[in-house]
């Protein structure tokens, strides 16, 4: 049973090892000629505007909360979807009630304009 997870473990080891290897090779063999321009924080090739760690607008918080809520919704869907055919009509109605209650909040968020990025 645990052998099923072996591919994930191998992927984890390879990705971690590869990342470490690339950083190590770059640090060991790469030439170092720092200039002021190179030491600046990278901001898509432009001159950086302000410090790198500035305060974020509260809008990001809203996006993160919305993401969590829909994420949890999906996690509830998954076990239901696996046994969907055995549950029959009753399970379908239950899920419709679940979705309907969430739809109320969704419509509220939509009407309020929380889903738009101004």
């Amino acid at each position: 049973m645990l052998i099923e997870y072996l591919p994930i473990a191998i992927l984890l080891v390879i990705s971690t090892g590869l990342a470490a290897l690339i950083v190590w090779i770059g640090n060991t063999f790469g030439p170092r000629r720092p200039t002021l321009r190179k030491s600046l924080p990278y901001e898509s090739g432009m001159n950086p505007i302000g410090p790198g760690t500035r305060r974020m607008p509260v809008r990001f918080y809203l996006v993160a909360v919305l993401f969590i809520l829909f994420d949890i919704e999906v996690v509830f869907f998954l076990p239901w979807a696996i046994v969907f055919r055995q549950l029959g009509l009753f399970g379908l109605i239950e899920m419709f009630v679940f979705i309907f209650i969430l739809l109320v909040g969704y419509v509220y968020a939509w009407k309020k304009g929380a889903l738009e990025w101004e």
């Binding site: 410090p51 990001f60 993160a64 999906v74 509830f76 969430l102 909040g105």
Partner: protein
């Protein structure tokens, strides 16, 4: 020692070490990153317990969403830019003492409970926890009410977040 025990010990050490770093480190962003490491260790523990769905849910919800929310919440605060001085909190021995006392107290209380030392029954090889969970979620004898109440709670959280964070134009 079996391979399972060795994997468990490594995972437990990494999880506990990362959890300790969450409270020891001074930089809140670093603490959030260590917390992700802890969540990941817990997800591996779920895998060891043959609870694959919980492991996936742990990665998707806790690592994917909640830690991102925490990092955003940290970045909303004003003092995040300060990254000077030692990286460990000076009061960490006190935190250690208090946490150890709490842990000991909890163990002491729980050890009075009769079933404390009984092992959980082992699931059969053929058992499908995800299928059982799906059946239990919508069956009236089991968890249908909590399931529906969860959607009410999610809606309340959604509306609450909009109330808190929505900016009037």
């Amino acid at each position: 020692m079996t391979a399972l025990q060795i994997i468990f010990l490594i995972t437990a050490v990494i999880t506990l070490g990362a959890a300790a770093m969450v409270v020891i480190t001074r930089n809140l962003v670093h603490a959030a990153l260590w917390l992700i490491m802890t969540f990941f260790g817990i997800s591996v523990l779920y895998v060891l317990l043959n609870a694959g769905f919980l492991a996936v849910a742990q990665v998707v919800i806790y690592i994917g969403a909640i830690s991102i929310l925490m990092i955003f919440a940290i970045m909303l605060t004003r003092r995040v830019q300060q990254d000077f001085g030692p990286q460990t909190n000076a009061a960490w021995p006190w935190a250690l003492v208090i946490a150890a006392a709490l842990f000991g107290g909890l163990i002491w209380i729980f050890s009075g409970w009769g079933n404390f030392f009984t092992q959980a029954p082992v699931m059969g090889e053929r058992a499908d926890p995800l299928r059982q969970l799906g059946m239990a979620l919508v069956s009236p004898e089991q968890y249908v009410i909590p399931f529906e109440v969860a959607s009410v709670m999610l809606t309340a959280a959604l509306i609450g977040a909009i109330m808190v964070a929505w900016e009037r134009k």
